[in-house]
Symmetry: C2
Subunit: 256 residues, 2 copies
Amino acid sequence: MPVPTQFERLRVVLVATRNPLNMGAAARAMSNFGFACLRIVNPYEAAFREARSAVGASALLANAEEYSNVADAVADCTLVVGTTAFGHRELQHPLRRLEYGARLIRKHLRSNRVALLFGSEKFGLSNADLSHCHWLMRVPTCERNISMNLGQAVAVCLYELVRDAKSTAQTEKPKHATAGEVERITEILLDSLRLSGYLDRRPVTAAEERIRRLVRRLDLQARDATIWLGILRQIVWKMRSQKTEGLSQPGDRKTS
Amino acid sequence: MPVPTQFERLRVVLVATRNPLNMGAAARAMSNFGFACLRIVNPYEAAFREARSAVGASALLANAEEYSNVADAVADCTLVVGTTAFGHRELQHPLRRLEYGARLIRKHLRSNRVALLFGSEKFGLSNADLSHCHWLMRVPTCERNISMNLGQAVAVCLYELVRDAKSTAQTEKPKHATAGEVERITEILLDSLRLSGYLDRRPVTAAEERIRRLVRRLDLQARDATIWLGILRQIVWKMRSQKTEGLSQPGDRKTS
C-alpha cells in the first residue's frame, strides 16, 4: 500500500498524554497506516522522555513535535477534529460517528491540513481543548463500555481513514477440479467401498448415484483432486494386496 | 449501540500470548465493541495470571476460557479465520483484506459460530495453528511497517466487524439564521464601519453590496446571529457614546 501524499497532511495531536506506552502505541499505529506527523501537547515530561527512548520507538516518535498549547499545535490546519467517547452536548459541537467523520476528513485532506486531537487517558480533551475544534468524532463503542484505550482509539481512527471500502476478494480463486477428475475419484472411491465391504454392510438403493453426488458436494480444488486420487489409489491397492497377499507396493511396479 | 446476538457467536482466540497488557487490551476492545467470548490457548502462565488480576481487567477477562491447543479452542466453530501480517503463500490459504474478510465473517455469524485467531506478539500464528484455519485475514497496513501491536490489531478487526457502512450525519443540522436576522447584522455592521471610519479609509464602489455578500458568506447559525447582533450593537453604542460623551450603557436606556 503506497502512502498517499494526502496522509502527510494529517496531524495526529496527543494532548496531555500520561502513559509512554500509549504514545508509543499511537506512533506505531501511525507507522502501520502510513501517517507521519505526530504532535504532542503538554505531555507528562517523564512519559515523553521514556516514550522517545523506548526500545522499538520509531523515527516517527523521535520526530514528534512538542507544543505547549493546542492553539499552536493546530495553527497550520484548516480543519480541527476532536475525538471523544462522550459527546459534549452543552458545547453544541456536532458529534459524528467515525465512519462518517472519517469520510469528511479524507475529503478535506485532499487539499488541506487536518488536525485530529486525542485527549489524556483519564480525562479526554478538556472544554478548553475542544473550543479549538470544528466538530467532534466518536468511535462507535457499546454503551456499556464506551471508553477506549488511547493507543487502540488512535489505531481504529487511522484504520478508518485508510480503509478501502471497495476492497473485495484479491486472492486468486483456486481452480476447481474438472468433472473428469471428480469422476475418477468417484470410481476409485466406489472401488474402495466395494473392497472394504462398506456397501455390503450398508446396502442402499442407487448407491452409485448417492456416492457420485457426495463427491460432487466436496467441491474439490484441482490440486486437492490429485492428492485424493493418490490417497484412494493407495488404499485400494492395499486392500487388493491384502486379498491376494504378497504383492509389491504400487510405487514398485515400475521397477518390477 | 445494542449488542446483536450474532456477536455472541464470535470467539476471539489468543494463541500463545506473552504480554498481559495485550491480553487486557484485547479484552478491553472486545468489551468496547460488544463481543464477549475470549479464549486463551497456551498463554504464558505468569502473563495470564497477571492479566486476570490486573486492575481494570473486566469480567470478560476473568471469564476467558483457557485451552491447551487450537483444535479444542475452535471445535464448536464452523468457520476459523487466522489473522496474519504476512500471508503464507506456501500454505496456499486464501488471504483476505480485513474490509472484505470481515464482510464474510459477519455473514457467517448470522447463523454460525466463528473463531478469529490472533498469534503471539513475536511470531504470530504458527503453521500448525494456521492448519486449523479456513482462510487468513490481514489488516491493510503499510509495507514499510506491516506488524501491528496485538491489542491494536484486535481493536481494528473488531471495529471493522461492528462498523456501520451506512452511517451518515446523525447530529441535528444546526438551524441557519433567517434572511431578516442576517440583514439586521449587515445593517449594524455597516453602522459600525461608518462610525469607525473604515469606509472612509477604504473607499470602494458598491460597499454596501460587498459587505452584504461578506455577511452572507458567514453562513451564520440562528443562535450565533443573536450573539453577533449583541456584539455589534454594543460596539456601535460604544462608538456613538464616545462621540457624544457621557451617554449611559445600552442596557441602562430602559431605565433612563
